[in-house]
């Protein structure tokens, strides 16, 4: 899988957000806000092919977290990102 580079992270008043294209003709904007660790994963994995293992490695390298917790968080991050089209 890869980060969808068509969707750009933007900073709005200190928050990191990604705009999700809505349905044409509706007056709705959906955004995904990335917290610190979600943004770290995004930046570390941007521009390359990766697997859940790579996500886990970033988390265990950067945070004091055991592998089981890192895997749980990593899988949740991948699922969230995929659901919103940020990882394809």
């Amino acid at each position: 899988m890869r980060i969808n580079e068509k969707m750009k992270v933007r900073t709005v008043a200190g928050e990191n957000i990604v705009m999700i294209q809505g349905v044409e003709g509706t007056d709705m904007t959906r955004v995904v806000a990335l917290n610190e660790s979600a943004l770290l994963l995004y930046n570390k994995l941007l521009g390359r092919e990766f697997e859940v293992e790579d996500v886990v490695r970033v988390l265990t390298d950067e945070y004091e977290v055991n592998e089981a917790d890192a895997r749980k968080d990593g899988e949740a991050w991948v699922a969230d990102m995929m659901k919103n089209g940020l990882v394809v």
């Binding site: 709005v12 957000i17 705009m19 904007t29």
Partner: protein
């Protein structure tokens, strides 16, 4: 060659060309914004009308957004050519071109409604680069401060501001469709404009903004203040739609929205079309 000078959103707008300049100045409300010649050093926008030698975009033109204007009678395409020039093409009535730093060129036949839309578009393209953006809203002024009602068409923006006028003393209407919000240093103000929808409310006035109020129809009146992310989603859909379809424009728009919501509180309100709704938003935002 004809020329007209306007001041809209605190920025100078210079119209030049032939017959279309006088047609533009006959658009209802436009004369209210007429000004003397621009002073040297004032940021200004140049809009050249009657550019009959304006060439259409090349075959490399990428259409990014298409929509109807003038009550669905005309199709408009917005896009970028290979060299980065922006174009709006109008199916019957011509062409609008914007090149970064060069102002806007318009070739359009004598159709006042389409010209009115083209001027709004030209203002937006240059304005977003100067911190001034037309925001789809109905705006009231009370005690020297403004409240901007946002929401989808048919949500009751104009109804809500009318309820303020009827129930809250000392309230007046600034604009009923597309005022200009301008970020100038640390200040954010809303300016009246020549674009006020079907309500002839054209005021050359500007005010600080006490709050942005995103309205939704509900069976009871509720209001709450929004954080950054929700505040962004409340304001962004009320900004010119084309900006969301092109990266450079979107970067500028996001910067603008960021500047606004750092300085102005944003609220979401579920409301009924009644006096209590107006009192609730007034008491919450202005106090």
């Amino acid at each position: 060659m004809a020329e007209a000078h306007l001041n809209i959103g605190g920025l100078d707008v210079v119209l030049s060309g032939g017959d279309s300049v006088s047609l533009a100045m006959r658009i209802p409300g436009m004369r209210v914004f007429e000004s003397r010649k621009s002073e040297v050093g004032t940021p200004s926008m140049e809009i050249r009308l009657d550019c009959s030698d304006l060439r259409p975009p090349t075959s490399g033109f990428r259409i990014l957004h298409e929509f109807d204007i003038v009550d669905g009678q005309q199709r408009c395409h917005f896009g970028v050519d290979v060299d980065g020039t922006y174009y709006y093409t109008f199916d019957r009535h011509g062409l609008l071109r914007y090149r970064e730093g060069e102002g806007v060129d318009i070739a359009m036949e004598g159709d006042m409604s389409a010209l009115r839309f083209a001027l709004w578009t030209a203002y937006g393209m240059m304005g977003v680069r100067m911190g001034a953006v037309p925001v789809h809203s109905s705006v009231v002024v009370c005690n020297g401060q403004s409240v901007m009602c946002l929401g989808e068409s048919g949500t009751g923006k104009s109804t809500h501001t009318r309820l303020w006028l009827e129930n809250i003393e000392g309230t007046s209407l600034l604009n009923d469709d597309s005022p200009i919000v301008r970020v100038d240093g640390d200040e954010v103000r809303v300016y009246g404009s020549p674009w006020s929808g079907k309500t002839p409310c054209f005021r050359q006035e500007h005010y600080p903004i006490a709050g942005l109020l995103r309205l939704e129809q509900r069976k009871e009146n509720t209001i709450r203040r929004l954080g950054v992310v929700e505040g962004f989603t409340a304001l962004q859909p009320s900004c010119p739609p084309c900006f969301a379809h092109e990266e450079r424009c979107l970067d500028l728009l996001v910067e603008f929205i960021s500047n606004v919501i750092e300085r102005v509180p944003v609220y979401r309100m579920g409301c009924l079309p009644n006096a209590d709704a107006a009192r609730l938003s007034h008491d919450t935002i202005i106090g």
